[in-house]
């Protein structure tokens, strides 16, 4: 597996499929926290910077760091899709995103508590403040971000093909299949069924091309 692809954000793809040989497919699941921590440790060690990893997405450097070393660290980490965030509003927005993403992808089913209430509770700020800061930093509203990721998870589940649309809709807190289909169509321009058909055909095309390549 290509090390450069172990980016911070790749954990979203809980199942990645890639073709090793034309006939062999490996299904891989990995812990993104461990991946990132190891990359961080390796890079910090390489630059001989004394540090403590204080939490998820936080590193404390001991003593002062020269600009040159800081820049070296920044570019070394960027290769892995890890970015140093140095503006407080960006830091806060990143936390908001982390909480949303954790809720949407890491739980088997979404909590029934509304996402806005959950965010306010977890971040200890009013939802109004959270939403305003979020819109200032990103190019989108918090609601759009949530829908985007809910539909992304729906795509993953459709792609995996283990559950019916009814089950997926229930898991992701949509009130009905019709509601999921409506949101899906609004975001992708396709119905979930058309999406499913396209993905299936793509896999068939890939498979037949891999076979041709082998001959």
């Amino acid at each position: 597996m290509d090390a450069a692809r172990l980016s911070k954000k790749i954990y979203l793809m809980l199942r990645i499929n890639f073709l090793v040989l034309a006939t062999m497919k490996l299904h891989i699941k990995y812990d993104f926290n461990i991946c990132c921590k190891v990359v961080l440790q390796e890079q910090l060690d390489k630059l001989e910077l004394p540090y403590t990893i204080t939490g998820l997405g936080e590193v404390e450097l001991k003593g002062t760091v020269s600009t040159q070393k800081y820049n070296e660290l920044e570019s070394a980490l960027r290769k892995y899709g890890i970015e140093i965030i140095d503006n407080p509003k960006n830091v806060f927005t990143q936390k908001v995103k982390d909480v949303i993403i954790e809720m949407i992808y890491l739980e088997e089913a979404l909590p029934t508590l509304t996402i806005s209430a959950h965010l306010a509770e977890r971040l200890n700020k009013s939802y109004g403040y959270i939403a305003t800061t979020f819109s200032e930093v990103t190019y989108t509203s918090i609601q759009n971000f949530i829908t985007l990721h809910k539909i992304e998870r729906a795509k993953q589940e459709i792609n995996a093909g283990k559950e019916t649309l009814t089950e997926i809709a229930w898991k992701l807190n949509f009130s009905s299949v019709a509601h999921l289909s409506r949101e899906f169509k609004k975001l992708t321009g396709l119905t979930p069924t058309a999406f499913q058909r396209i993905i299936k055909k793509r896999k068939e095309v890939e498979l037949s091309e891999a076979k041709i390549g082998k001959h």
Binding site: Y11, L12, A194, I198
Partner: protein, 149 residues
Amino acid sequence: MNHDALHILLADDDDDDRLFFRDAIAEVKVKTIVSMVNDGVELMTRLNNPEISIPNLLFLDLNMPRKSGMECLREIRSNNKLKDLTIAIYSTSASEVDIEETFVKGANIYIKKPNDFEELKNILDRVITLNWQYHTAGLNRETFILNIS
């Protein structure tokens, strides 16, 4: 490396369409750098030139002289170096069959060329914002499909 600007390439043989596109994209809120090519051969030469950086997002007209958009799509998707390139088909056709075929062949976005400036602006805004989120929010590109027709 410029993190903020999105590099966009348009492949279209029609002068008017190119101008229309350039004006509309200038009004989109995400910062962009726009380059243009006139046909499929020029497009593939540019993408295969190691001295020119690969754009983030390609708008591809299907109906071009010398090499069609469909041929370009096939070539791009069979080239591993171009796997991260988001492809938006930009076409006058809106037949269901065409749309589905381009998606199956690896296009990410299908846009039916609008005739209205305001509409084009809104579409570009939506496409670019969404693509920008794919860059920054770690969504799976392999299942990135958007139909605006």
